[in-house]
């Protein structure tokens, strides 16, 4: 599954969801197709879902809401683990991703 535009690309490989580029969509409705891809991975109930954000240079607050909302969905399913991969070279990730861990303490966050 893949969504690709001039600004960003989101695609899945087994239970890993990759994000790349700059995502500044206008709100919940605009992010809905991306949430749909994410939910389809969750509905297959994998042992661990990996969100690979190491190529996501910019995300606006509506996009942060999308990641937070998905984290809460995963939290409701104790059998599904979640791992979030970030990059130290991308400033928003060190600033905002820790909020996901505050929402779901067993989320494994690696910013390298």
């Amino acid at each position: 599954m893949e969504i690709s535009t001039n600004d960003y690309r989101v695609w899945t490989e087994a239970s890993t969801i990759h994000y790349e580029g700059t995502m500044r969509l206008s709100g919940t409705d605009a992010y809905a197709p991306i949430l749909e891809i994410m939910n389809s991975v969750l509905s297959s109930k994998p042992e661990v879902i990996t969100l690979d954000l190491t190529g996501l240079e910019f995300l606006n607050s509506s996009g942060i809401n999308l990641l937070a909302k998905f984290t809460i969905e995963i939290r409701k399913q104790p059998d599904v683990g979640v791992r979030v991969l970030g990059s130290k070279a991308i400033p928003w990730q060190s600033k905002s991703l820790r909020n996901l861990q505050r929402l779901h303490p067993s989320l494994e966050l690696t910013i390298s």
Partner: protein, 181 residues
């Protein structure tokens, strides 16, 4: 009539590096796309003029994120008219003022929202808001822009509402400052 909320006092003086931009409502037809382009441009501009001891990558990103969030609100809620931006940098202190027009009803609603926002610790309120959003799939806005700025970026924010005649709308000036590191 003027009503102020939060921190509306600028600390940068006339010696600061300053840059002003006006996004004209006509004939460009201001749209969502202008938020990202404008905020990236100003972030890039100031990241090249910040002094030693400041990480230009972090400066460019933080300035761009801050302006983008405030501009997205300005574009989403504006009641016609131009959008003006004045930004200044004095050593590690970046400040921006964004002016746009909103209608009286939007102003009243936003003021109620700000009163709640300023009473609480932003980090706590951010998590609460996220949990609320998850319970309301129909809500179109996340309301996280200002909260992430305050909680994750340590930004100081203020708002000034000026109106003479209600029928002409309310001029909203958003003040934001950030200590770059």
């Amino acid at each position: 009539m003027v009503q102020d909320f939060g921190n509306t006092v600028a600390s940068n003086g006339s010696d600061a590096t300053s840059f002003a931009l006006k996004l004209r409502a006509e004939p460009l037809e201001l749209s969502w796309h202008h938020c990202g382009v404008t905020s990236d441009f100003i972030g890039e501009y100031f990241s090249r003029s910040c002094g030693s001891g400041i990480d230009p990558v972090d400066a460019r990103h933080s300035i761009s994120y801050m302006i983008n969030e405030i501009l997205e609100n300005a574009i989403k809620f504006r009641h016609g008219g131009d959008v003006e931006l004045v930004s200044t940098l004095d050593e590690d202190m970046f400040e921006i003022k964004i002016v746009n027009l909103i209608d009286a009803q939007t102003a009243e609603k936003f003021q109620g929202h700000l009163t709640l926002l300023l009473e609480r610790e932003p980090g706590e309120l951010l998590l609460e808001r996220i949990e609320e959003n998850a319970l309301n799939p129909d809500s179109s806005g996340s309301g996280l822009g200002l909260l992430t700025l305050m909680s994750d970026y340590g930004a100081k924010l203020g708002w000034s509402f000026t109106s003479e005649h209600v029928s002409e709308g309310v001029e909203l000036t958003t003040f934001a400052s950030l200590r770059l590191s």
